[in-house]
Each structure stands twice: as C-alpha cells, then as structure tokens.
C-alpha cells in the first residue's frame, strides 16, 4: 500500500513537467508581442521595452525560457510574476478561495441531486419520475454550459430575482447560479449512472439472498443494493471534481467571478505565460492528487481491489 502510494507520487513529477512544458509552449506559440499588447495604444520607448523583454527572458529561445522558469520554481519557489510585477503566487492566493468555493458548492449540488435522482429513478423504474429523470438528464447533458448559464441568469437572476446574476458580493448565494451551471452536465451523468448501477445491483444474486434472509426492503436496498452501486459513483464524482477547475474557466467568465478560471482566461489573452502556466500547473497537480485519492478510496470501498 505504502509502496503503491510512493510510486504514484513519483509519477506526479513527469506528469507535471510534461504538462507545464505543453502549456508553456502553447502560450509561447500565441502570435504577437505581449509587451506591445501590454502597452496598448500608448507609446512605449524602446529602452523600456528592451528592459521588460530582458526581465521576462522573452528574447531567449523557448526551451531556455522554460528551463529558467522551472529553475526559479525549484531553487527559489519563484513562480514568476505578471508583467505588472505581481507575483503569481499572490494571484493564486487571492483567487483560489473563489474557485474553491465554486467547486465545493458545485460538488455538493451535483452529488445530492444526482444521487437522489438516480436512486428514485431506479426505485420507481418506468414510472413518471423515472421518465422525468431520463428526459431531463438528456437535456442537461446535451445543452452547452453557455446556454444553461444564460438561461439560469435570465430566469432566476433577472425574472425571478432570486439569485444575483454576477459577481461575488452576496456571499454564498452568489455561487448558486454558477454552481448550478457547472453542475448540470455532471448531475445528469451521475443520475443516470446511479440509476443503472442500482438497477443492476437490485437484480443481482446477493440482493436476492438478502431478501431471502428476511431483511426488510429498505434494508435490502440501503445495506446491500446501494452499497455496491455507489462505488462507481464515487469514482465519477472524484474524477469530476478534478476536472472542475477546467470548467471554471467558462463559468467564471459568464458570471464574472474573480477566480482562477477567469484569471487564466485573461492571462491567455494577455499572453502572460508564467501566470497561465502557474495556474494550470496547480490545476494539473489538483487533478492527479484527487485521482490518487479516488483510487485509494475505491480500494477501501471494494475489498476485491487491493494495491501493492
């Protein structure tokens, strides 16, 4: 078990190196001069531009730039800074809570709604609620996030006025609409997953055994049926949480939430390579860590799986 965890942790190193290299290369490949873009319409003297180019190693070949960046991280924990001179770590520190809150609210919403809808659909198979879940989940999965976001803003923000349309000035309620938007696709998938897994499980021999043992129906379903059918759901929720940061780029932009996703979007437009790479690296790290946790959890839930 310990050996397994150590091996997995060691695998993180190449994963992170390769992903940062790719992101760095992509930002590097964006055409145009970032310094000129920074200056905008205002005139900028050649001396200033040269100094800035020097400071951010912009005249070095790509690989040299990349290694200087990595070297800075490894030796001085220097994750670089924006062209305005603001350290990337500073930006992350300020913006991470917004994205983390968004992800957490999303996770809670999709887990509760998805799992409950899935269970009820399975228990009332082919009845009205089941059909309703089947149809509504298709819609949730098929509609683009953009459309769902605008729809929620229009109905619950503008028409009904229940929740703020944008920004984060209203505490947790500010996060409800963005979280619902982000949760839509996963709630749909999760409901369908739980439904089919529970139906399979209820047809299984061990559930029949539990009934033959004289257990009450509720006990048969919760202790014997659900226990097994929720294992794949845990895997899905974990993988989804890991990829949520990527989803935050669109949602934070729609709802104007000052989180990491929005920052990545702005930094890509501003060609601030170090910022993009810094945040994306954080996303990647989060992704691999969550995946490791899910794998370990899986082994804990299903005794037939053992790691060595």
């Amino acid at each position: 078990m310990t050996r397994y965890i150590i091996r997995r942790l060691l695998q993180f190193i190449p994963v992170i190196l390769i992903s940062t290299l790719i992101v760095y290369a992509l930002v590097f490949a964006i055409p145009g001069d970032p310094i000129r873009a920074l200056a905008g319409d205002r005139p900028m003297s050649d001396a200033v531009r040269e100094t800035l180019r020097e400071q951010y190693n912009l005249d070095d070949p790509f690989l040299v730039q990349y290694f200087k960046y990595i070297w800075g991280i490894v030796t001085a924990l220097d994750f670089g800074s924006t062209f305005n001179g603001r350290p990337v770590t500073d930006i992350i520190e300020q913006r991470l809570p917004v994205t983390a809150t968004l992800a957490l609210v999303t996770l809670v919403i999709q887990t509760i709604m998805g799992v409950i809808a899935g269970i009820l659909a399975a228990l009332y198979r082919d009845r009205f609620f089941d059909r309703f879940v089947q149809v509504s989940t298709v819609a949730m999965v098929a509609l683009p996030t953009l459309v769902i976001g605008f729809l929620l803003q229009l109905v619950f923000g503008l028409n009904l006025g229940w929740f703020p349309i944008a920004g984060i000035n209203n505490g947790i309620t500010s996060y409800i609409l963005p979280a619902l938007t982000m949760a839509a696709v996963s709630t749909g998938i999760l409901a369908r997953l739980v439904r089919s897994e529970l139906l399979d499980s209820l047809k299984s021999d061990y559930v029949r055994t539990a009934t033959a043992k004289g257990m009450k129906r509720t006990r048969v379903i919760t202790r014997h049926g659900l226990r097994n059918s929720l294992i794949p759901a845990v895997t899905f929720i974990g993988a989804d949480l890991a990829s949520m940061l990527g989803g935050s780029i669109i949602v934070e932009t729609i709802f104007n939430l000052p989180g990491l996703g929005q920052q990545v979007f702005n930094s890509i437009q501003g060609q601030e390579g170090t910022v993009v790479v810094g945040i994306v690296t954080l996303f990647v790290l989060f992704f691999v860590v969550i995946n490791l946790i899910v794998d370990l959890l899986y082994g804990l839930l299903d005794p037939r799986i053992r790691y060595e």
Partner: protein, 367 residues
C-alpha cells in the same frame, strides 16, 4: 388435480398423524413474456414433513427453481405472477399472508441456499457480518453477540480458523468454503424448512460430496425438512427420501427414492435414468432423451412429454394425464403408468440412430 390425490401419500414413510411442515397445493405460476404467457408451473402438489428430504428433479426450464423462489417469496413479480394454488407452512397459507409476517418466516423458518455462492454473497461485506446480520435483524442481537454467534455457525459448518476468517470477504474463500458460508447463513436461525437450489452444481466433484454430507448431517441434527433441487441423479440417490420429477412445470412422477430408481412409473423418469452414463459401459454412445422440452408459451395438447415419448399414442396427444396413484405411495402422470411401471408398455416409436429425433415405428414397418 383432485383432493384424493394430494391427500394420498406422496408422503411415503411418514405416519399419517404428522401435520405436514410444508404443503404445496395446485400451485400455478406464470411469466409474462414477449412471446406470450409462459406457464412455468402448472398445478404443482407436494408435501414435506420434518426430517424429510424431498428431491425435486428436472431439466433446465422444468420449473424447479421457480418453485423454490415461489415458496421463498422472492420471485420477481412482475414478470412472474402466481396464478393460483396454496403454499401452506404449518397450515398457514404463505400466499395470502401479509408481507411482514411472511418476511419474518423467510430466513428464520424457511431458509434457502443458492447455487452460486460467489454471486449470492455480498462481495463488499465480510462473511461474518453477513451471517451475523441474521441474528441482528431477526433476533435483535447486538453487534458483538451476533458476531460471536456467526463465528459459532462458521465453526459448525466446518470452516477452519472461523474466528480469524469471519472478517474476510467472500472472494477470499474457495468455492466449497463459500458454499459452507451460505449454509451457515441459511441454518443460522434453526429453520424448519431448508430449500437448497442446486447447492453443489458449481463445485468440484470431491467438494460436492463433502457439502452434501454436511447438509445431510445438519438436516438430521436440526430435524429440518429439506427440499433439494437438482438435476443430478447421483446426488438424489444418496440423500433424498422421496423424489418429485418435474417436467414443464408439472410433477410427472413422485415416489420413494428406491421405488423411483427401481421401478420408474413414467417414461420420462425412465429416460432420465437411462441417460446416466455407466462406468462399465465401454465406448458406447451416451443415451439421451431425444428432442427438447416444449416451449412454456406454447404447450402441446395432451401430455407435455408426448412429443419425446417412446410410448406416445393418440390418447397422449389429446388428453392430459393427471397425477394418480400407480402403486403404494407411487404417483405418476402417465396414461400407461401401470404398463410402464411393470415394464410391459408398447413402444410406438424408437429413438433415431443419430439421436436427433424420433422415428415412428409404424412408418418404418413396411421396409
């Protein structure tokens, strides 16, 4: 099925004063399928007394397992439907009982062992927990006390190192040990009736004998009525007191086990017995009953076995034979049961040399 037939014997070897433990009367079970209504059980009758072993013998699709599931009340409904009949446990009809009373009997008084222990045990719960659950739910025992009882049951069914192994999961046991755990779970609450649905089919031959021995010992110890569902004639001969041979959801023949083997009173039973491979039969062709059982959605008129029967006549093709007394304690559902029983029945056709079907003797005669 008339009253006189159900009350007549088919309980050979028991004194008439005994109240039956389990009594199945004219049971009818149907399944709704796309092809129509499949009549899986058509008027089934039998009785079971304490300490008695009844073997229900039959091919796949003859209704053996459906019978077991109907008695246990674990039949999937729908698509299943109980179209008629009674199942009486100590005089009370299980089919009209309310669900809560029935649930309490299930597992407690009437228990069942399934064929495939690996899929029938919950893969993610320790075996000790699964046995202990019986005590916790039915007897309201505390976790610790129930676990101690579970270990005791595991020891009783011969699992070595029961104390340490109670925390293990089903996949960590061998096939034979898993079936022992199933048995421990079934007999945990000292049931009156134990239904074993092909309990040894999934096991190695050597392990089969051990498990059957264990079942037999436990039956004697607890004086249980045992219903043994099987297609294995060898198993039946060893442990059963009486046999009910099922075909197309009906009992074709029912009698004492020795009587059935020595003097079968139905052509189907004769065919089954003849199909047992013999160790002294060197290099001969294996004998099989040619043809296939009829479709349950499209039953032939008359005797359901007539398309495969060597003795079938026009009467067999039009008139359905009822189960009736042929000899002392011996029931058969064949128009010519007496002749078959005495070995004097006339063959109307014989198996084709390829074994693919039947050839009418009359058609072949002119050659």
């Amino acid at each position: 099925m008339t009253e006189s037939q159900t009350s007549t014997g088919f309980t050979p070897g028991t004194s008439p004063g005994d109240a039956p433990l389990l009594e199945v009367k004219d049971l009818q079970v149907e399944f709704r399928t796309k092809a129509g209504v499949a009549r899986a059980i058509n008027g089934l009758n039998f009785t079971l007394h304490a300490g008695e072993t009844l073997a229900i013998l039959g091919e796949s699709g003859s209704g053996k397992s459906v019978t077991a599931q109907t008695i246990m009340g674990i039949l999937d409904m729908p698509p299943g439907r109980i179209a008629g009949g009674e199942i009486r446990y100590r005089g009370d009809d299980l089919l009209t009982m309310n669900e809560e009373s029935r649930r309490k009997l299930r597992g407690g008084k009437i228990a069942m062992i399934f064929q495939d222990a690996l899929s029938s045990l919950n893969p993610v719960l320790p075996v000790g927990w699964q046995i202990a659950e019986m005590f916790r739910v039915h007897r309201g025992m505390k976790r610790k006390e129930a676990r101690a009882k579970a270990v005791e049951m595991m020891q009783r069914v011969g699992i070595p190192g029961a104390e340490e192994r109670a925390g293990d999961f089903p996949h960590q046991f061998s096939g034979g040990m898993r079936q022992r755990i199933m048995i421990a779970m079934a007999i945990a609450l000292d049931p009156d009736v134990l239904i074993a649905d092909e309990p040894t089919t999934a096991l190695d031959v050597t392990v089969q004998a051990q498990v059957m021995r264990l079942l037999k010992d436990l039956q004697t110890e607890f004086n249980m009525g045992l219903i043994l569902i099987t297609h294995d004639l060898g198993v039946v001969a060893d442990v059963a007191d009486k046999i009910a041979v099922m075909y197309s959801g009906r009992v074709m023949e029912a009698a004492d086990v020795y009587e059935t083997y020595a003097k079968p009173g139905h052509p189907y039973t004769q065919g089954l017995l003849a199909s047992i491979p013999r160790i002294d039969d060197e290099g001969g062709r294996l004998r099989a009953i040619s043809g296939l059982p009829p479709s349950l959605t499209d039953m032939p008129p008359g005797c359901p076995f007539n398309p495969r029967c060597e003795f079938a006549t026009d009467r067999c093709r039009t008139e359905r034979p009822e189960l009736r007394l042929v000899a002392e304690g011996h029931l058969s559902a064949c128009h010519y049961a007496e002749d078959v029983y005495a070995g004097t029945a006339t063959r109307t056709r014989r198996p084709s040399p390829t074994g693919a079907g039947m050839i009418d003797v009359s058609e072949e005669a002119p050659e």
